[in-house]
Amino acid sequence: MSVKRDSLSVGLAVGAAGVAFGAVAVADHFSVAQACFLSLVLFSGASQFSLVAVMSSGGSALSAIVTGTFLGGRNGLYGVRMAQILKLKGWKRALAAQITIDESTGVAIAQSELEDQKTAFWYTGFGVYVFWNLFTLLGAVGAKAIGDTSAWGLDVASPAIFCAVLFPRLKERKMLIASVLAFIWALSITELVPAGVPIISTVFIAALVGWK
């Protein structure tokens, strides 16, 4: 059945990026156990990368928590949409919440039949979960043998991934304006404020651009 196959291939492709997370986390002075914990429990790529990035750039735990939580916020919004499709209660809802991410929601809402939407959500969600965790471990363990991560391009893995996530959404004019403003704003204030603030503070740009 092609919904299952498509879902699992998304799971493998996206999950493989976990190797970058594992390696980046260890390069940024997180332990292998911490990298694996983040992939197992936090399980939200953007939040994981941001948490590691904020702390490695000298940010406090608090600014890492706030930034990571803000970035995880959209999964809550995906949850609203998925709940209408899945209509779950109890432990199944609790389980679905954990695998509610960009990919599981995206592949699900791309299907036209309700049953296919449900199948796509579970297969993509679990597919990404399994591979993301497997590759995180590989990346984290492998990073120790790598040494200078800049010499292997690991310092651009995460911004390149975010460029790829953002790129298709920037066709919309408001998205593009908000993105460019946020980019310029963050760089403009980075030397004036504590780490993490340039990122969190861009929420006002979203409010400004989205107001009308």
Binding site: I65, G68, T69, F162, A178, T202
Partner: protein, 103 residues
């Protein structure tokens, strides 16, 4: 407990709570068009500023270096509609080459 563990555990709990609340929230609360427009833009601005920080700062200082080449290649690859792994690996390889040449 190290600050890394504290950040990891608290962020994990907060993010799971958000995911769960999303599944449990009454739809009507988020139906206002303005709320929808803003919440759609929030991930965009957060990720955009995160790219700026990761690619063009070092320890909160503005810095243009080998990473610029990597990001440029990523954007070109995206423009050419190349697959996701090519975008990321292309960016990494370019950045690494520029970094090594400078040393």
């Amino acid at each position: 407990m190290s600050s890394q563990w504290i950040a990891a555990i608290v962020t994990s709990l907060a993010c799971y709570a958000l995911k769960f609340i999303g599944h449990a929230i009454p739809e009507i609360w988020l139906s206002h068009p303005r709320v929808q427009r803003i919440t759609n833009l929030v991930p965009i601005v957060l990720l955009s500023s995160l790219v700026a920080m990761q690619a063009f700062t070092t320890k909160t200082k503005f810095m243009v270096d080998h990473r610029l080449a990597g990001i440029a290649v990523a954007l070109l690859a995206l423009k050419a509609k190349l697959p996701f792994p090519v975008v990321v690996i292309g960016a990494m390889a370019t950045s690494a080459i520029v970094y090594r040449l400078k040393i």
